[in-house]
């Protein structure tokens, strides 16, 4: 059973996405900010991370960069999610080492396809 970690500071978005993924048979862990995400990624080594960009403290860009710079976590695929939907966000997300990008509000079926492709 693939384990997915959702990094998202908005409680509703985090909860709704988590419950939908659980219904599709994923095991889901959540983190509310970049620091939690880095610690949790080290401890639990999820199979995939959904990373929001606008996070308090260490933001999604920095967290992704650190995950990809760390030998212990660099193999974990990261899908970057952003509500900005600007082309520059996508380019930046991929530049810091994200494996894919999706805009919020997420289209769940499309996101599932992206997740399946990376697992």
């Amino acid at each position: 059973m693939p384990r997915i970690m959702i990094v998202e500071d908005n409680e509703f978005s985090r909860d709704a996405l988590a419950r939908r993924l659980v219904r599709r048979g994923f095991e889901v862990a959540v983190a509310c900010d970049g620091l939690q995400a880095l610690t949790a990624a080290h401890e639990s080594r999820p199979d995939l991370i959904l990373m929001d960009l606008g996070l308090p403290g260490i933001d999604g860009w920095e967290a992704t960069r650190r995950l990809k710079a760390d030998a212990a976590t660099q193999h974990i695929p990261v899908i970057v999610l952003s509500a900005h939907a600007m082309v520059t966000d996508r380019e930046l997300a991929l530049a810091v080492g994200g494996d894919d990008f999706d805009a919020k509000p997420v289209r769940f079926e499309r996101l599932l396809e992206k997740i399946q492709a990376l697992l």
């Binding site: 978005s13 996405l17 509500a83 900005h84 939907a85 082309v87 919020k104 509000p105 997420v106 769940f108």
Partner: protein
């Protein structure tokens, strides 16, 4: 526009009291400069005349008046002392108080007396009388007619008195007619007439020049103010435009976050409801989702429009196959075409192969037009014709999207490319859509150096024609814009 027009109208210099005052000031300034310059001229002339007078006395007087004796003649001393007396005071005034009215009156009187001395020193030779006419002409340099009055009076009185008491000194003869001074004075007045005319014309020209200069200064000042105003207004507009697009970008972000939760929860609830047979809430949950997605389209549309307006939408040309782009569009739009029982036909001319353009934007344009055609047509047909055409120096690809749907009135077609102007208010309710699609399509066409036009009649369908260049005009420059 409005705040600018009156500024130009107000700048008419003829009616401006400030300009007239400035013209008077300029004219006085010119006159003052001329007076000072002429004072200096006379200071020099005084010195020269003094020296000339002494030389006349040394060379002419002893021979003409004392024969062969070598005694210093009285005239030499007269030339030295009288000439000095006549020269030093006005020359000093010219140097110490240049431009003063009294200075030029003193100079006028002294100059004429110097003439009288020179005539005396040359034994009343008629040739030396020309000094009088030359002096008057020099005095006219002041461009002040009043200076000529004391000068003329001095000449006339000198001729009258010396002609009566000492005619040899002024006419070079022992006895002269008592009226001879009148003839001399007459010729002086004759010259005065021309000098006065010339002074009058010269003053008038000076006044004209002052008025023109004042008007020009006023225009330059007005224009500088105008340019500064325009620059400020432009800067304000740029700041406002940037603030607006920043606001829209952050607004769009703030709206997306809660919308994300709404759509995810309603989809989650729908999935859960579908697991419970007979649950009535599925339909309602779908309506929430549909409303949420409509809201999302609006947000995306507004963001797109504001990006285009703010010049932040970049065009990235790349070589792509037109047929494969069209097949993407057809796949996407097929469910909508079938929903209204329409027939979709695609005709691509053989000459159409690949184009070098922004593929995402081209697809967005065609997809939007085909979706509209499918949406506004029922039990009819939607046709996509793609051809290649030459327009002037450039080759274009032409997309023609025709339908047999509801069509539009001429009034409706006129406003169709403006934002939030669906053909009429009931349209949005009946057919859905954001009212932004065609505004975005039209802006995208312009952005890509292309054009869009529409031909439509009510109940006879619509035909949208899009022309896009096959090659970007200056690929390097476009790329630089895209990067910026």
């Amino acid at each position: 526009m409005d705040p600018v027009t009156p500024l130009i109208a107000d700048s008419s210099p003829a009616t401006d009291p400030g300009v007239a005052a400035r013209a008077v000031e300029l004219c006085q300034d010119y006159e003052q400069k001329i007076h000072v310059r002429t004072d200096r001229l006379f200071a020099g002339l005084m010195g020269l005349q003094w020296v000339a007078g002494v030389l006349f006395a040394l060379w002419v007087s002893p021979l003409a008046w004392a024969g062969g004796t070598s005694r210093t003649h009285l005239h030499v001393w007269a030339a030295l002392f009288l000439g000095g007396l006549l020269s030093v005071f006005p020359a000093a005034l010219a140097l110490l108080r240049p431009g003063e009215r009294s200075t030029r009156y003193v100079i006028a009187v002294a100059q004429m007396l110097m003439g009288a001395l020179l005539i005396h020193l040359t034994g009343g030779r008629i040739e030396t009388h020309f000094h009088v006419f030359g002096s008057l002409a020099f005095l006219a340099f002041y461009r002040d007619w009043r200076v000529l009055v004391p000068a003329t009076v001095v000449v006339a009185l000198d001729h009258l008195l010396r002609g009566y008491f000492f005619p040899q000194s002024v006419y070079g003869v022992i006895a002269a007619s008592p009226w001879r001074w009148l003839e001399h004075a007459g010729w002086v007045v004759f010259e005065d007439v021309f000098l006065l005319l010339s002074v009058y014309r010269s003053i008038r020209e000076m006044r004209d020049r002052a008025e023109r200069t004042a008007a020009l200064e006023h225009q330059l000042r007005t224009r500088a103010v105008l340019v500064e105003d325009l620059r400020k207004a432009q800067k304000q507009a740029e700041v406002a435009s940037r603030a607006k697009s920043d606001f829209l970008a952050s607004m769009s972000h703030e709206l997306r976050t809660p919308l994300n939760a709404i759509i995810l929860y309603s989809e989650l609830l729908e999935e859960e409801a579908m697991d419970r047979p007979g649950d009535q809430s599925v339909e309602d949950l779908r309506k929430i989702q549909s409303a949420g997605k409509h809201l999302l389209e609006l947000i995306n549309g507004i963001l797109d429009l504001s990006k285009i307006e703010a010049g932040k939408m970049s065009v990235t040309p790349e070589e792509f196959d037109v047929r494969s782009m069209l097949s993407d569009v057809v796949d996407t739009v097929r469910p909508l075409v079938h929903k209204n029982s329409n027939r979709l036909t695609v005709n691509v001319a053989d000459s159409v192969t690949t184009v070098n353009a922004d593929v995402t934007k081209t697809r967005q344009i065609v997809l939007n037009l085909v979706s509209n055609a499918a949406k506004f047509t029922r039990l009819g047909s939607v046709t996509i014709d793609v051809t290649r055409s030459s327009g002037g120096a450039r080759d274009y690809i032409e997309f023609r999207i025709s339908d047999t749907g509801v069509g539009m009135t001429p009034e409706q077609t006129r406003r169709i490319f403006e934002p939030f102007t669906q053909a009429d208010v009931t349209t949005a309710r009946k057919y859905g859509g954001t009212g932004l699609g065609l505004a975005i399509v039209s802006s995208l066409c312009q952005l890509m150096d292309g054009s869009i036009s529409v031909d439509s009649r009510p109940d006879a369908g619509s035909r949208f024609t899009v022309l896009l260049p096959v090659q970007p005009l200056q690929p390097a420059e476009n790329h630089a814009d895209a990067a910026a």
